[in-house]
């Protein structure tokens, strides 16, 4: 009945937008709000509790937007502690009913494990039915609260004083109730089984957060107006009375609001706990299935049942963990660490979304593009750090348990998964790596030269020779193998001969003069492969060639060069038409005053003939303000040790800087330009000035980009 793991065995897509939205809602509406409401009113006051849920909703939305971008690609295995919290959070381990509670818990868990085994459709339908029930209950409470306030407006006086213990308490209650907004990430696990996942999963995440925020605000409002001050048993302000019951405060308030309030609340708790468990089993099963499929866990986790199409291997493993935790471990301590793990998970997702957008923006196609990127992930990261730090005051055990749990996960990855993980199409493979020197490289300046083919190699040799000589460099030659998408990466080796010829050309000329290493790598995206190698080799300067012509509507210089210039964490030198045995007696360096201009001056002084070479620092006064040209040149000539007799300055007045520079370029052998330092978004619209000159100049051109570290990154990206 069971099939072995393989690419042909996949769960079938059966879950609609409604099903996955309900799955997210089911995970969120539960003990977090039911138990947190009373305590929050006691801490933050009547107004503070409403504000707590409103602001937490906004924070949850920021992370949901991040999640929505990569829902189909990401999975997590941290869902089950939250479900346990919702299911057993209210149980007192010391109570005499403990055994009975545990038996009920085990029976309930087994029931939902079986439902999950039956298939995603059954899981989704039953989960949706249960979630509808619990949503209906909480909406009813909210509506009754509004009707009560309309009928008896005097109850609105319960909101005064608004924040009796001060506004600082808001942070306390936000951290405490954030668990009520954790759960929408379970939707990400449904990628394999959702219908039209790239459209439906992001929508489901955002819908569920919006719905739950509205419901929570309604319920918080209803809780505050549910009690009338001065009625039987209510002494003092209403918020104080509700708060005095702590986690039972919400139940007491609802029982005052409507008949059978406590009974309805009990039903709501049962519905929410069971739906959370259902979604939790589903989530944990799919996460471990995905890890098994990618060989990061044993293949047992990737087993799919032939008839039911459910991942029964991971379901068995999940069931064992859930049943052990249910019967043996103190759930209160496990649950307390769940919040930290969720915050850690959200924190990682927000970091990853920034990193992936930066390094794979030209490879991934997006079902949803976040507005004002990366503002929302950064805001969410800051808020999550604040909330996580605050949890130290709530539970020290949580800050011990959660890091241990995370370390276990890292240990499994490091000692088991890392060496076994299936190679994906997005990875970078090292096909060949050789050192052609025996001398130590300490103190040598690492320069990397990207060689595409023999013709490109000859373009690079002379300039590389000069750069290496001036910098006392160690040379790393890299060739990224370009393999068509339809060809398997295992066949990449067949495409290395052109690169080997190119590397040989460069080595033939330079190996006697400088220590050289070579590396041939494969990556579907050449730019990402080169940037990755730069990071790995700690390269300080990258040299590459550019053919000059560009007809691409998306890129300024080219689909490979643009991302390399944008992302390389080192100085970049792009050479156009610098091949052969050209002698550059005079170089033109247009200056705008930025860090790239300074590097351009240095490179120009290196590439021009040592004795008779002349560098002209050139500035165009277009009437829009000019940099302190003489000071800039003076400072940088000293910095880079450029002899003053080999450096002159020239300023002209002109309406068009491009025309003036191109006109002046005719009198020189070489043009050296700094790339634009405008933000990337501004460059998307139209080509910037340096790129225009580089494209139109009939003379050899060198474009340079200086690495200015974090400051440069922030300026370019935000």
């Amino acid at each position: 009945m069971a099939s072995s793991p393989g690419s042909s065995s996949k769960p079938t897509p059966e879950l609609s937008l409604f099903h996955v939205t309900m799955m997210g809602l089911g995970m969120m509406i539960g003990a977090g709000v039911f138990l947190g409401m009373g305590i929050s009113i006691g801490e933050a006051g009547p107004g503070g509790v409403v504000l707590t849920f409103a602001l937490n909703g906004l924070l949850a939305m920021l992370t949901a937007l991040t999640f929505a971008i990569y829902t189909v690609r990401f999975a997590n295995a941290l869902g089950w502690p939250d479900g346990l919290y919702k299911l057993f959070g209210a149980a007192n381990p010391q109570s005499v009913e403990m055994t009975l509670v545990k038996i009920v818990a085990v029976v309930t868990a087994i029931t939902f494990i079986y439902i999950n085994f039956r298939g995603a459709s059954e899981t989704g339908k039953i989960g949706a039915f249960i979630t509808m029930g619990q949503t209906l209950f909480v909406v009813t409470i909210g509506v009754v609260g509004i009707v009560t306030a309309i009928k008896d407006p005097a109850r609105l006086a319960n909101f005064t004083p608004f924040m009796p213990k001060g506004w600082s308490q808001l942070l306390v209650t936000m951290g405490f109730t954030y668990v009520a907004f954790e759960g929408y990430e379970v939707i990400a696990q449904a990628g394999d089984e959702a219908i039209d996942p790239r459209r439906n999963l992001p929508k489901a995440m955002i819908y569920s957060v919006c719905i739950v925020t509205t419901i929570y605000i309604l319920v918080a409002f209803a809780t505050v107006v549910s009690v009338k001050t001065g009625t039987q048993g209510v002494e003092g302000p209403a918020w104080q009375w509700i708060g005095s019951f702590h986690e039972k405060g919400f139940g007491e308030a609802v029982s005052r609001l409507m008949p059978f309030g406590n009974f309805i609340l009990t039903l709501a708790v049962i519905f929410s706990s069971t739906s959370a468990l259902n979604a939790t089993i589903y989530s944990a099963t799919r996460a471990s299935y995905a890890l098994g499929r990618d060989s990061m866990l044993p293949k047992f986790f990737a087993l799919i049942h032939t008839a039911k199409k459910t991942p029964y291997g991971s379901l068995i493993a999940t069931s064992v963990v859930i049943l052990i935790v249910t019967t043996v471990l103190p759930t209160k301590d496990v649950a307390s660490s769940a919040s930290i793990m969720f915050l850690f998970l959200f924190f990682m997702v927000n970091l990853c979304v920034i990193k992936i957008r930066r390094s794979m923006a030209d490879e991934l196609t997006y079902g949803f593009l976040m507005p004002l990127f990366p503002l929302f992930p950064i805001l969410a990261i800051i808020c999550q750090i604040v909330l996580a730090v605050w949890l130290v005051h709530m539970s020290i055990i949580a800050w011990i348990v959660a890091p241990i749990w995370i370390l276990i996960g890292l240990g499994i990855y490091w000692f088991y998964a890392r060496s076994r993980a299936t190679t994906t199409e997005d990875e970078i493979l090292i096909l060949e790596e050789q050192k052609h020197h025996k001398k130590p490289l300490e103190g040598k300046y690492p320069i990397m030269v990207a060689v595409a083919n023999p013709a490109n190699a000859t373009q690079l040799i002379q300039s590389t020779y000069r750069l290496c000589g001036a910098k006392d460099a160690h040379l790393e030659l890299i060739h990224m193998v370009q393999v068509p998408d339809q060809i398997s990466l295992h066949d990449a080796e067949k495409y290395t001969h052109i690169g080997k010829e190119g590397l040989f050309e460069v080595m033939l000329s330079l190996a006697l003069h400088f220590p050289i290493s070579t590396t041939i790598r494969y990556c579907r995206n050449v730019a990402r492969g080169i940037v990755s190698a730069i990071r790995e080799k700690k390269t300080k300067m990258l040299v590459l060639g550019w053919h000059g012509a560009t007809h691409h509507t998306l890129f300024n210089l080219g689909s490979k060069i643009d991302p390399i210039i944008e992302q390389s964490p080192c100085n970049v030198v792009v050479l156009k038409g610098c091949g052969g045995n050209k002698v550059f007696k005079s170089a033109l360096v247009p200056i705008a005053g930025g860090p790239n201009g300074a590097l351009a001056l240095e490179i120009a002084s290196i590439l021009t003939a040592p004795d008779e070479g002349m560098v002209t620092a050139f500035s165009v006064d277009t009437g829009r303000g000019v940099v302190d040209f003489d000071q800039f040149v003076g400072v940088n000539s000293k910095k880079f040790d450029i002899p003053r007799e080999n450096l002159r300055t020239k300023t002209v007045k002109a309406e068009s800087a491009v025309k003036a520079i191109l006109k002046e370029a005719k009198n020189h052998d070489l043009v050296v330009l700094g790339t634009t330092h405008k933000p990337l978004l501004a460059q998307m619209g139209r080509m910037s000035l340096p790129e225009k000159i580089a494209c139109r100049s009939p003379k050899p051109v060198v474009m340079v980009k200086s690495d200015s570290g974090v400051r440069s990154w922030i300026r370019r990206w935000i």
Binding site: G47, G48, V50, L51, A54, L55, G57, L58, M61, L65, A68, F159, T160, P161, F162, M163, R198, R199, P202, K203, I206, Y207, V209, C210, T213, T214, I217, R357, A361, D362, E363, L364, T365, Y366, G367, F368, L369, P371, T553, L554, F555, L681, M684, G685, R686
Partner: protein, 52 residues
């Protein structure tokens, strides 16, 4: 009306309104991208800046 109540109402309304606005805008964006075809970040931004 008490100053704290006024600030509280404004903050709550603003937070809820922002959540709803982001939901609506995201939905429009998701539907548009789904109908126009999935694109890379550069393709989408370039299209926007060119007024396409």
């Amino acid at each position: 009306m008490d100053k704290d109540v006024l600030i509280g109402i404004i903050l709550t309304a603003a937070a809820l309104l922002t959540v709803i606005t982001l939901t609506v805008l995201s939905r429009v964006s998701i539907e548009r991208i789904a109908s126009d075809g999935f694109k890379t970040a550069r393709q989408t931004l370039k299209g926007k800046n060119n007024g396409k």
